[in-house]
Protein backbone atom coordinates (compact mmCIF):
# COMPACT_ATOMS: atom_id res chain seq x y z
CA UNK A 1 0.00 0.00 0.00
CA UNK A 2 2.81 2.38 0.76
CA UNK A 3 4.25 1.67 -2.65
CA UNK A 4 1.25 2.21 -4.86
CA UNK A 5 1.23 5.99 -4.66
CA UNK A 6 4.90 6.50 -5.46
CA UNK A 7 4.78 3.98 -8.27
CA UNK A 8 1.77 5.60 -9.84
CA UNK A 9 3.28 9.00 -9.86
CA UNK A 10 6.71 7.78 -10.93
CA UNK A 11 5.28 5.93 -13.87
CA UNK A 12 3.10 8.90 -14.80
CA UNK A 13 6.22 10.94 -15.39
CA UNK A 14 7.80 8.35 -17.63
CA UNK A 15 4.80 7.38 -19.71
CA UNK A 16 5.85 8.15 -23.28
CA UNK A 17 3.73 10.60 -25.23
CA UNK A 18 0.97 9.01 -27.31
CA UNK A 19 2.18 7.52 -30.53
CA UNK A 20 5.77 7.46 -29.42
CA UNK A 21 5.64 4.24 -27.47
CA UNK A 22 8.86 3.21 -29.14
CA UNK A 23 10.73 6.07 -27.46
CA UNK A 24 10.64 4.46 -24.07
CA UNK A 25 11.57 6.74 -21.20
CA UNK A 26 11.77 9.85 -23.34
CA UNK A 27 12.86 12.45 -20.84
CA UNK A 28 10.50 15.36 -20.56
CA UNK A 29 11.83 17.85 -18.07
CA UNK A 30 8.52 19.69 -17.82
CA UNK A 31 6.78 16.50 -16.85
CA UNK A 32 9.45 15.81 -14.23
CA UNK A 33 9.06 19.34 -12.88
CA UNK A 34 5.35 18.78 -12.46
CA UNK A 35 6.18 16.00 -9.98
CA UNK A 36 7.94 18.47 -7.66
CA UNK A 37 5.32 20.72 -6.05
CA UNK A 38 7.83 23.17 -4.54
CA UNK A 39 9.01 24.16 -8.02
CA UNK A 40 5.72 25.97 -8.52
CA UNK A 41 6.39 28.47 -5.77
CA UNK A 42 7.70 31.99 -6.04
CA UNK A 43 10.59 33.53 -4.14
CA UNK A 44 10.85 37.32 -3.80
CA UNK A 45 8.19 37.61 -6.47
CA UNK A 46 10.07 35.45 -8.99
CA UNK A 47 9.60 31.80 -9.92
CA UNK A 48 11.94 29.70 -7.78
CA UNK A 49 15.10 28.70 -9.63
CA UNK A 50 16.51 26.04 -7.36
CA UNK A 51 20.20 25.48 -8.02
CA UNK A 52 21.30 24.29 -4.59
CA UNK A 53 20.77 20.64 -5.27
CA UNK A 54 24.16 19.51 -4.01
CA UNK A 55 23.02 20.67 -0.57
CA UNK A 56 19.69 18.90 -0.90
CA UNK A 57 17.42 18.38 -3.88
CA UNK A 58 13.66 18.91 -3.76
CA UNK A 59 11.24 16.06 -3.16
CA UNK A 60 8.75 14.64 -5.64
CA UNK A 61 5.08 14.30 -4.69
CA UNK A 62 5.52 10.52 -4.56
CA UNK A 63 7.88 10.86 -1.61
CA UNK A 64 5.59 13.25 0.23
CA UNK A 65 2.64 10.93 -0.39
CA UNK A 66 4.52 7.90 0.90
CA UNK A 67 5.35 9.68 4.15
CA UNK A 68 1.82 10.97 4.68
CA UNK A 69 0.39 7.58 3.82
CA UNK A 70 2.67 5.86 6.32
CA UNK A 71 1.66 8.16 9.16
CA UNK A 72 -1.98 8.19 8.10
CA UNK A 73 -2.46 4.48 7.70
CA UNK A 74 0.15 2.26 9.30
CA UNK A 75 2.15 4.19 11.88
CA UNK A 76 3.49 1.73 14.48
CA UNK A 77 6.87 0.74 15.82
CA UNK A 78 8.80 -1.88 13.90
CA UNK A 79 10.20 -5.28 14.86
CA UNK A 80 8.41 -5.35 18.19
CA UNK A 81 4.71 -5.93 17.94
CA UNK A 82 2.40 -8.73 16.92
CA UNK A 83 -0.42 -6.41 16.06
CA UNK A 84 -1.48 -5.67 12.53
CA UNK A 85 -0.06 -2.16 12.21
CA UNK A 86 3.31 -3.13 13.63
CA UNK A 87 3.53 -5.94 11.13
CA UNK A 88 2.60 -3.64 8.29
CA UNK A 89 5.08 -1.02 9.41
CA UNK A 90 7.82 -3.64 9.66
CA UNK A 91 6.97 -4.98 6.22
CA UNK A 92 7.03 -1.51 4.68
CA UNK A 93 10.29 -0.64 6.46
CA UNK A 94 11.98 -3.82 5.29
CA UNK A 95 10.56 -3.34 1.79
CA UNK A 96 12.34 0.01 1.75
CA UNK A 97 15.58 -1.69 2.73
CA UNK A 98 15.10 -4.11 -0.15
CA UNK A 99 14.63 -1.17 -2.53
CA UNK A 100 17.86 0.36 -1.30
CA UNK A 101 19.59 -2.98 -1.78
CA UNK A 102 18.37 -3.16 -5.35
CA UNK A 103 19.24 0.46 -6.03
CA UNK A 104 22.89 -0.10 -5.07
CA UNK A 105 22.87 -3.71 -6.23
CA UNK A 106 24.07 -5.05 -2.89
CA UNK A 107 24.08 -8.82 -2.67
CA UNK A 108 21.92 -9.01 0.43
CA UNK A 109 19.49 -6.71 2.23
CA UNK A 110 21.33 -7.30 5.51
CA UNK A 111 24.26 -5.41 4.00
CA UNK A 112 22.13 -2.24 4.06
CA UNK A 113 22.19 -0.40 7.39
CA UNK A 114 19.85 2.54 7.90
CA UNK A 115 21.47 5.55 9.57
CA UNK A 116 20.56 9.21 9.89
CA UNK A 117 22.67 10.43 7.01
CA UNK A 118 25.99 9.85 5.26
CA UNK A 119 27.81 11.51 8.11
CA UNK A 120 26.48 8.93 10.55
CA UNK A 121 27.27 6.11 8.11
CA UNK A 122 30.89 7.24 7.95
CA UNK A 123 31.13 7.73 11.71
CA UNK A 124 29.68 4.28 12.21
CA UNK A 125 32.56 2.80 10.24
CA UNK A 126 35.10 5.00 12.02
CA UNK A 127 33.88 4.01 15.48
CA UNK A 128 33.45 0.29 14.82
CA UNK A 129 35.69 -0.88 12.00
CA UNK A 130 38.12 1.92 12.78
CA UNK A 131 38.32 1.33 16.50
CA UNK A 132 39.05 -2.36 16.02
CA UNK A 133 41.34 -2.21 12.99
CA UNK A 134 43.26 1.04 13.26
CA UNK A 135 45.95 1.16 15.95
CA UNK A 136 49.03 3.10 16.92
CA UNK A 137 51.17 4.09 13.93
CA UNK A 138 48.62 2.73 11.47
CA UNK A 139 47.42 4.94 8.66
CA UNK A 140 44.14 6.01 7.14
CA UNK A 141 44.19 7.59 3.69
CA UNK A 142 41.74 10.23 2.46
CA UNK A 143 41.84 12.75 -0.38
CA UNK A 144 42.14 16.53 -0.48
CA UNK A 145 38.64 16.88 -1.91
CA UNK A 146 36.65 15.30 0.92
CA UNK A 147 33.60 16.84 2.50
CA UNK A 148 34.23 17.44 6.21
CA UNK A 149 31.99 14.39 6.80
CA UNK A 150 34.58 12.13 5.25
CA UNK A 151 37.54 13.87 6.83
CA UNK A 152 36.76 14.85 10.41
CA UNK A 153 35.68 11.34 11.57
CA UNK A 154 39.04 10.01 10.32
CA UNK A 155 40.92 12.83 12.02
CA UNK A 156 39.11 11.95 15.24
CA UNK A 157 39.82 8.25 14.83
CA UNK A 158 43.52 8.82 14.11
CA UNK A 159 43.78 11.15 17.07
CA UNK A 160 42.17 8.59 19.37
CA UNK A 161 44.13 5.63 18.00
CA UNK A 162 47.50 7.31 17.62
CA UNK A 163 47.31 6.67 13.90
CA UNK A 164 48.29 8.89 10.99
CA UNK A 165 46.00 10.47 8.43
CA UNK A 166 47.52 10.67 4.94
CA UNK A 167 45.97 12.87 2.28
CA UNK A 168 46.10 12.21 -1.46
CA UNK A 169 46.47 15.49 -3.39
CA UNK A 170 44.39 16.95 -6.21
CA UNK A 171 45.51 19.03 -9.18
CA UNK A 172 44.45 22.46 -10.43
CA UNK A 173 41.47 21.02 -12.27
CA UNK A 174 40.28 19.38 -9.09
CA UNK A 175 41.21 15.88 -10.25
CA UNK A 176 42.52 13.32 -7.81
CA UNK A 177 46.14 12.32 -8.42
CA UNK A 178 45.60 8.58 -8.35
CA UNK A 179 49.32 7.81 -8.72
CA UNK A 180 50.08 9.88 -5.65
CA UNK A 181 47.26 8.17 -3.85
CA UNK A 182 48.67 4.77 -4.69
CA UNK A 183 52.04 5.86 -3.33
CA UNK A 184 50.41 6.47 0.06
CA UNK A 185 49.09 2.92 0.33
CA UNK A 186 51.30 0.62 2.34
CA UNK A 187 51.33 -2.12 4.95
CA UNK A 188 50.26 0.36 7.63
CA UNK A 189 47.23 1.56 5.65
CA UNK A 190 44.08 0.22 7.27
CA UNK A 191 41.49 2.06 5.23
CA UNK A 192 41.07 4.34 2.25
CA UNK A 193 38.14 6.76 2.49
CA UNK A 194 37.39 8.54 -0.77
CA UNK A 195 34.48 10.45 -2.21
CA UNK A 196 32.77 9.19 -5.33
CA UNK A 197 31.98 12.76 -6.33
CA UNK A 198 33.09 16.08 -4.87
CA UNK A 199 30.33 18.39 -3.69
CA UNK A 200 32.56 21.45 -3.98
CA UNK A 201 34.14 20.76 -7.38
CA UNK A 202 31.87 18.28 -9.12
CA UNK A 203 34.80 15.94 -9.80
CA UNK A 204 33.77 12.33 -10.29
CA UNK A 205 36.52 10.00 -9.13
CA UNK A 206 37.40 6.79 -10.95
CA UNK A 207 36.36 4.78 -7.91
CA UNK A 208 36.33 1.53 -9.89
CA UNK A 209 40.07 1.93 -10.53
CA UNK A 210 40.78 3.25 -7.06
CA UNK A 211 39.14 0.26 -5.36
CA UNK A 212 41.13 -2.12 -7.56
CA UNK A 213 44.39 -0.36 -6.73
CA UNK A 214 43.63 -0.25 -3.01
CA UNK A 215 42.67 -3.91 -2.92
CA UNK A 216 45.90 -4.79 -4.68
CA UNK A 217 47.58 -3.27 -1.62
CA UNK A 218 45.22 -5.11 0.72
CA UNK A 219 43.48 -1.89 1.73
CA UNK A 220 39.70 -1.81 2.25
CA UNK A 221 37.83 1.16 0.77
CA UNK A 222 34.98 3.30 2.01
CA UNK A 223 33.31 5.42 -0.66
CA UNK A 224 31.35 8.53 0.23
CA UNK A 225 28.54 8.36 -2.29
CA UNK A 226 26.54 11.31 -0.97
CA UNK A 227 26.82 13.26 -4.21
CA UNK A 228 27.23 10.50 -6.76
CA UNK A 229 24.22 8.39 -5.83
CA UNK A 230 21.59 10.73 -7.25
CA UNK A 231 23.42 11.44 -10.48
CA UNK A 232 24.61 8.03 -11.66
CA UNK A 233 24.00 4.32 -11.30
CA UNK A 234 26.02 2.84 -8.46
CA UNK A 235 26.69 -0.89 -8.33
CA UNK A 236 28.54 -1.79 -5.15
CA UNK A 237 29.26 -5.31 -6.32
CA UNK A 238 30.79 -4.12 -9.58
CA UNK A 239 32.79 -1.50 -7.68
CA UNK A 240 33.75 -4.14 -5.12
CA UNK A 241 33.99 -1.40 -2.48
CA UNK A 242 33.91 -2.47 1.15
CA UNK A 243 31.67 0.34 2.39
CA UNK A 244 29.46 2.82 0.55
CA UNK A 245 27.84 5.71 2.40
CA UNK A 246 24.81 7.58 1.06
CA UNK A 247 22.32 10.08 2.38
CA UNK A 248 18.59 9.89 1.74
CA UNK A 249 17.85 13.59 1.41
CA UNK A 250 20.18 13.89 -1.57
CA UNK A 251 18.40 10.98 -3.25
CA UNK A 252 15.24 13.12 -3.47
CA UNK A 253 14.14 11.46 -0.23
CA UNK A 254 13.48 12.93 3.22
CA UNK A 255 16.11 14.22 5.63
CA UNK A 256 17.10 12.10 8.60
CA UNK A 257 17.60 8.82 6.76
CA UNK A 258 20.95 7.59 5.54
CA UNK A 259 22.45 4.40 4.22
CA UNK A 260 25.56 2.43 4.92
CA UNK A 261 26.36 -0.46 2.63
CA UNK A 262 29.00 -2.82 3.97
CA UNK A 263 30.15 -6.22 2.82
CA UNK A 264 28.45 -8.75 5.06
CA UNK A 265 31.69 -10.36 6.26
CA UNK A 266 33.07 -6.99 7.31
CA UNK A 267 29.88 -5.91 9.03
CA UNK A 268 29.80 -9.25 10.85
CA UNK A 269 33.32 -8.70 12.14
CA UNK A 270 32.59 -5.24 13.49
CA UNK A 271 31.36 -4.45 17.00
CA UNK A 272 28.07 -2.54 17.36
CA UNK A 273 28.04 1.25 17.04
CA UNK A 274 25.41 2.38 19.55
CA UNK A 275 23.79 0.30 22.25
CA UNK A 276 20.08 0.12 22.97
CA UNK A 277 16.87 -1.44 21.81
CA UNK A 278 16.66 -3.44 18.57
CA UNK A 279 20.41 -4.02 18.32
CA UNK A 280 20.51 -6.83 20.91
CA UNK A 281 19.75 -10.54 20.80
CA UNK A 282 19.53 -11.02 24.55
CA UNK A 283 20.16 -8.83 27.53
CA UNK A 284 20.85 -9.64 31.15
CA UNK A 285 21.83 -7.06 33.71
CA UNK A 286 25.43 -8.10 33.26
CA UNK A 287 25.81 -8.65 29.57
CA UNK A 288 24.16 -8.50 26.17
CA UNK A 289 24.61 -10.30 22.90
CA UNK A 290 24.16 -8.64 19.58
CA UNK A 291 21.42 -8.96 17.07
CA UNK A 292 22.08 -10.14 13.52
CA UNK A 293 22.83 -7.83 10.60
CA UNK A 294 21.77 -5.19 9.90
CA UNK A 295 19.96 -4.69 13.23
CA UNK A 296 23.20 -4.88 15.21
CA UNK A 297 23.88 -1.40 13.85
CA UNK A 298 20.37 0.01 14.19
CA UNK A 299 19.93 0.83 17.85
CA UNK A 300 16.64 2.40 18.86
CA UNK A 301 13.52 3.17 16.87
CA UNK A 302 14.63 3.94 13.33
CA UNK A 303 13.31 6.68 11.06
CA UNK A 304 10.57 4.43 9.70
CA UNK A 305 8.81 7.13 7.67
CA UNK A 306 12.18 8.27 6.39
CA UNK A 307 13.10 4.81 5.13
CA UNK A 308 9.70 4.46 3.46
CA UNK A 309 10.06 7.92 1.92
CA UNK A 310 13.50 6.95 0.66
CA UNK A 311 12.03 3.80 -0.84
CA UNK A 312 9.52 5.95 -2.71
CA UNK A 313 12.33 8.24 -3.88
CA UNK A 314 14.24 5.27 -5.22
CA UNK A 315 11.13 4.08 -7.08
CA UNK A 316 10.82 7.56 -8.52
CA UNK A 317 14.45 7.73 -9.65
CA UNK A 318 14.46 4.26 -11.16
CA UNK A 319 11.15 5.00 -12.89
CA UNK A 320 12.92 7.72 -14.82
CA UNK A 321 16.25 5.95 -15.02
CA UNK A 322 19.82 7.09 -14.73
CA UNK A 323 20.34 6.93 -18.49
CA UNK A 324 17.81 9.69 -18.97
CA UNK A 325 18.79 11.61 -15.84
CA UNK A 326 22.50 11.39 -16.66
CA UNK A 327 22.04 12.54 -20.25
CA UNK A 328 19.86 15.48 -19.23
CA UNK A 329 22.21 16.58 -16.46
CA UNK A 330 25.32 16.21 -18.60
CA UNK A 331 23.82 18.39 -21.34
CA UNK A 332 22.80 20.95 -18.74
CA UNK A 333 26.25 20.95 -17.15
CA UNK A 334 27.85 21.56 -20.55
CA UNK A 335 25.39 24.38 -21.24
CA UNK A 336 25.95 25.89 -17.79
CA UNK A 337 29.73 25.65 -18.07
CA UNK A 338 29.63 27.54 -21.33
CA UNK A 339 27.11 30.09 -20.08
CA UNK A 340 28.99 30.88 -16.87
CA UNK A 341 32.35 31.03 -18.62
CA UNK A 342 30.95 33.76 -20.84
CA UNK A 343 30.07 36.01 -17.89
CA UNK A 344 32.85 38.61 -17.52
CA UNK A 345 34.99 38.05 -14.44
CA UNK A 346 33.64 34.59 -13.66
CA UNK A 347 36.12 31.78 -13.06
CA UNK A 348 35.04 28.19 -12.59
CA UNK A 349 36.61 26.28 -9.71
CA UNK A 350 36.68 22.59 -10.55
CA UNK A 351 37.19 21.73 -14.19
CA UNK A 352 37.81 18.00 -13.98
CA UNK A 353 37.39 16.07 -17.19
CA UNK A 354 35.01 13.70 -15.45
CA UNK A 355 32.55 15.88 -13.66
CA UNK A 356 28.86 16.05 -12.80
CA UNK A 357 26.23 18.65 -12.01
CA UNK A 358 28.29 21.17 -10.04
CA UNK A 359 29.25 24.69 -11.18
CA UNK A 360 31.44 26.20 -8.49
CA UNK A 361 32.68 29.67 -9.34
CA UNK A 362 34.13 32.94 -8.17
CA UNK A 363 33.57 36.38 -9.63
CA UNK A 364 36.28 38.97 -9.76
CA UNK A 365 35.84 41.70 -7.16
CA UNK A 366 32.66 40.23 -5.67
CA UNK A 367 32.54 37.98 -2.66
CA UNK A 368 30.36 34.85 -3.09
CA UNK A 369 28.10 35.97 -0.23
CA UNK A 370 27.18 39.10 -2.09
CA UNK A 371 26.53 37.08 -5.23
CA UNK A 372 24.27 34.74 -3.24
CA UNK A 373 22.24 37.57 -1.73
CA UNK A 374 21.73 39.39 -5.02
CA UNK A 375 20.73 36.37 -7.09
CA UNK A 376 18.39 35.26 -4.29
CA UNK A 377 16.40 38.44 -4.84
CA UNK A 378 15.86 37.21 -8.40
CA UNK A 379 14.50 33.92 -7.05
CA UNK A 380 17.72 32.02 -7.73
CA UNK A 381 18.90 29.73 -4.91
CA UNK A 382 22.60 28.92 -4.99
CA UNK A 383 24.99 28.01 -2.21
CA UNK A 384 27.82 30.28 -1.20
CA UNK A 385 30.57 29.54 1.27
CA UNK A 386 33.09 26.78 1.78
CA UNK A 387 30.66 23.91 1.12
CA UNK A 388 31.92 21.96 4.14
CA UNK A 389 35.17 21.51 2.25
CA UNK A 390 37.53 24.11 3.69
CA UNK A 391 40.66 22.22 2.57
CA UNK A 392 39.35 22.41 -1.01
CA UNK A 393 38.93 26.18 -0.68
CA UNK A 394 42.47 26.41 0.69
CA UNK A 395 43.78 24.32 -2.22
CA UNK A 396 42.33 26.83 -4.68
CA UNK A 397 43.25 29.83 -2.52
CA UNK A 398 39.71 31.14 -2.28
CA UNK A 399 37.85 31.78 0.98
CA UNK A 400 34.61 30.61 -0.56
CA UNK A 401 32.87 29.99 -3.85
CA UNK A 402 29.39 30.40 -5.26
CA UNK A 403 27.96 27.09 -6.38
CA UNK A 404 25.11 26.31 -8.72
CA UNK A 405 24.34 22.61 -8.62
CA UNK A 406 21.95 20.74 -10.86
CA UNK A 407 19.29 18.10 -10.50
CA UNK A 408 17.10 16.24 -12.96
CA UNK A 409 14.42 18.96 -12.96
CA UNK A 410 16.62 21.92 -13.87
CA UNK A 411 16.40 23.58 -17.26
CA UNK A 412 18.46 25.70 -19.62
CA UNK A 413 16.04 28.51 -18.96
CA UNK A 414 17.03 28.40 -15.30
CA UNK A 415 20.70 28.64 -16.20
CA UNK A 416 19.82 31.67 -18.33
CA UNK A 417 18.05 33.20 -15.32
CA UNK A 418 21.18 32.63 -13.22
CA UNK A 419 23.32 34.30 -15.85
CA UNK A 420 20.97 37.29 -15.96
CA UNK A 421 21.06 37.46 -12.18
CA UNK A 422 24.87 37.49 -12.32
CA UNK A 423 24.61 40.46 -14.66
CA UNK A 424 22.65 42.20 -11.91
CA UNK A 425 25.50 41.41 -9.54
CA UNK A 426 27.87 43.12 -11.97
CA UNK A 427 25.59 46.15 -12.09
CA UNK A 428 25.46 46.48 -8.31
CA UNK A 429 29.22 46.17 -8.03
CA UNK A 430 30.01 48.14 -11.17
Amino acid sequence: MTTTTPLRSASASMTPPRGEAAVRRAFDVERVRADFPILRRQVHGHPLVYLDNAATPQKPQAVLDAIVSYYTEINANVHRGVHDLSERATTAFEAAREKVRGFFNAREAREIVFTRNATESINLVAWTFGRTNVGRDDEVVVTAMEHHSNLVPWQMLCEAAGARLRVAPIDDRGELLVDELERLLGPRTKLLAVTHMSNALGTVNAVEDIVRIAHAHGVPVLIDGSQAAYHMKVDVQALDCDFYAATGHKLYGPTGIGVLYGKAALLESMPPFMGGGDMIASVTLEKSTWNVLPYKFEAGTPHIAGAIGLGAAIDYITGIGFDAIGAHEAALLAYGTEALSSVPGVRLIGTARRKASVLSFVMEGVHPHDIGTIVDREGVAIRTGHHCAQPVMARFSVPATARASLAMYNTRGEIDTLVRALERVREVFA
Binding site: H367, H369, D370, I374, F429
Partner: protein, 147 residues
Protein backbone atom coordinates in the same frame (compact mmCIF):
# COMPACT_ATOMS: atom_id res chain seq x y z
CA UNK B 1 15.44 45.64 -5.88
CA UNK B 2 14.92 48.51 -3.39
CA UNK B 3 15.99 46.15 -0.58
CA UNK B 4 19.18 45.48 -2.48
CA UNK B 5 19.82 49.19 -2.84
CA UNK B 6 19.31 49.56 0.91
CA UNK B 7 21.87 46.84 1.48
CA UNK B 8 24.45 47.87 -1.05
CA UNK B 9 24.45 51.61 -0.49
CA UNK B 10 27.11 53.80 -2.09
CA UNK B 11 28.96 54.12 1.23
CA UNK B 12 29.20 50.35 1.53
CA UNK B 13 30.28 49.77 -2.04
CA UNK B 14 32.89 52.47 -1.62
CA UNK B 15 34.30 51.06 1.63
CA UNK B 16 34.27 47.58 0.10
CA UNK B 17 36.28 48.73 -2.87
CA UNK B 18 38.62 50.97 -0.93
CA UNK B 19 38.61 49.75 2.66
CA UNK B 20 40.04 52.30 5.10
CA UNK B 21 42.65 51.26 7.66
CA UNK B 22 43.25 48.04 5.76
CA UNK B 23 46.66 47.24 7.19
CA UNK B 24 48.36 45.75 10.21
CA UNK B 25 49.55 47.70 13.26
CA UNK B 26 53.06 46.70 14.23
CA UNK B 27 52.68 46.83 17.98
CA UNK B 28 48.99 46.77 18.83
CA UNK B 29 47.91 46.86 22.46
CA UNK B 30 44.92 44.71 21.57
CA UNK B 31 44.39 42.15 18.87
CA UNK B 32 41.73 39.62 17.97
CA UNK B 33 40.87 37.42 15.07
CA UNK B 34 37.24 37.17 14.06
CA UNK B 35 35.86 34.23 12.19
CA UNK B 36 32.54 33.64 10.52
CA UNK B 37 32.28 29.85 10.17
CA UNK B 38 29.25 30.20 7.94
CA UNK B 39 31.32 31.63 5.11
CA UNK B 40 34.89 31.04 6.24
CA UNK B 41 35.60 34.74 6.40
CA UNK B 42 38.43 35.83 8.67
CA UNK B 43 39.23 39.22 10.06
CA UNK B 44 42.28 40.36 11.99
CA UNK B 45 41.69 43.45 14.07
CA UNK B 46 44.51 45.53 15.50
CA UNK B 47 43.85 48.15 18.17
CA UNK B 48 46.15 50.62 19.85
CA UNK B 49 44.94 52.09 23.12
CA UNK B 50 46.80 54.89 24.87
CA UNK B 51 45.54 55.39 28.40
CA UNK B 52 41.84 55.28 27.81
CA UNK B 53 41.81 56.43 24.23
CA UNK B 54 41.82 54.33 21.05
CA UNK B 55 44.56 56.00 19.04
CA UNK B 56 44.62 53.60 16.11
CA UNK B 57 42.62 50.71 14.63
CA UNK B 58 43.26 48.64 11.55
CA UNK B 59 42.16 45.36 10.01
CA UNK B 60 43.12 42.71 7.51
CA UNK B 61 41.28 39.75 6.09
CA UNK B 62 38.89 38.55 3.46
CA UNK B 63 35.19 38.99 3.51
CA UNK B 64 32.04 39.98 1.72
CA UNK B 65 31.22 43.59 0.93
CA UNK B 66 29.15 43.92 4.09
CA UNK B 67 31.75 42.61 6.52
CA UNK B 68 34.56 44.52 4.84
CA UNK B 69 32.65 47.79 4.73
CA UNK B 70 31.53 47.31 8.31
CA UNK B 71 35.11 46.82 9.49
CA UNK B 72 36.26 49.80 7.45
CA UNK B 73 33.51 52.07 8.77
CA UNK B 74 34.05 50.89 12.32
CA UNK B 75 37.78 51.57 12.30
CA UNK B 76 37.09 55.08 10.99
CA UNK B 77 34.37 55.72 13.54
CA UNK B 78 36.32 54.67 16.60
CA UNK B 79 39.65 56.39 16.20
CA UNK B 80 40.02 58.97 18.97
CA UNK B 81 37.17 57.57 21.04
CA UNK B 82 37.56 56.18 24.54
CA UNK B 83 37.25 52.47 25.18
CA UNK B 84 34.04 53.10 27.09
CA UNK B 85 32.61 55.04 24.14
CA UNK B 86 33.57 52.24 21.77
CA UNK B 87 31.83 49.71 23.96
CA UNK B 88 28.73 51.86 24.13
CA UNK B 89 28.76 52.26 20.36
CA UNK B 90 29.02 48.48 19.99
CA UNK B 91 25.73 48.15 21.89
CA UNK B 92 24.04 50.87 19.87
CA UNK B 93 25.26 49.43 16.57
CA UNK B 94 24.17 45.95 17.57
CA UNK B 95 20.74 47.31 18.41
CA UNK B 96 20.45 49.05 15.05
CA UNK B 97 21.31 45.99 12.95
CA UNK B 98 19.11 43.62 14.93
CA UNK B 99 15.97 45.75 15.16
CA UNK B 100 13.20 44.52 12.82
CA UNK B 101 13.17 46.53 9.58
CA UNK B 102 9.71 47.99 10.20
CA UNK B 103 10.81 49.69 13.43
CA UNK B 104 12.65 53.00 13.70
CA UNK B 105 16.28 53.05 14.79
CA UNK B 106 18.60 55.82 15.90
CA UNK B 107 20.86 57.53 13.38
CA UNK B 108 24.48 56.48 13.75
CA UNK B 109 25.76 58.63 10.92
CA UNK B 110 27.78 56.71 8.36
CA UNK B 111 27.44 53.51 10.37
CA UNK B 112 23.73 53.60 9.63
CA UNK B 113 24.53 52.55 6.08
CA UNK B 114 24.64 49.04 7.53
CA UNK B 115 21.04 49.19 8.78
CA UNK B 116 20.07 47.70 5.41
CA UNK B 117 21.10 44.26 6.65
CA UNK B 118 17.91 44.18 8.69
CA UNK B 119 16.11 43.10 5.51
CA UNK B 120 18.62 40.25 5.14
CA UNK B 121 18.73 38.36 8.43
CA UNK B 122 21.52 35.98 7.37
CA UNK B 123 23.74 38.94 6.61
CA UNK B 124 23.52 40.48 10.08
CA UNK B 125 26.47 38.32 11.09
CA UNK B 126 28.52 39.84 8.29
CA UNK B 127 27.81 43.34 9.57
CA UNK B 128 28.58 42.47 13.18
CA UNK B 129 31.76 40.43 12.70
CA UNK B 130 34.08 43.43 13.01
CA UNK B 131 32.28 44.66 16.11
CA UNK B 132 32.35 41.30 17.84
CA UNK B 133 36.02 41.08 17.02
CA UNK B 134 36.56 44.52 18.51
CA UNK B 135 34.82 43.47 21.70
CA UNK B 136 37.00 40.36 21.88
CA UNK B 137 40.12 42.42 21.26
CA UNK B 138 39.24 44.84 24.02
CA UNK B 139 38.50 41.88 26.30
CA UNK B 140 41.85 40.47 25.18
CA UNK B 141 40.40 37.23 23.85
CA UNK B 142 42.26 36.11 20.77
CA UNK B 143 39.70 34.29 18.64
CA UNK B 144 36.08 35.18 18.28
CA UNK B 145 33.26 33.99 16.14
CA UNK B 146 29.86 35.35 15.22
CA UNK B 147 28.21 31.93 15.35
Amino acid sequence: MSDLRDLYQEVILDHNKRPRNFRAIDVPTHFAEGYNPLCGDRLKLYVKVDGDVITDLAFLGSGCAISKASASLMTDALRGRTVAEAQALFERFHHVVTTPPDQPVEDLGKLSALAGVREFPVRVKCASLAWHTLKAALDRTTLTSTE
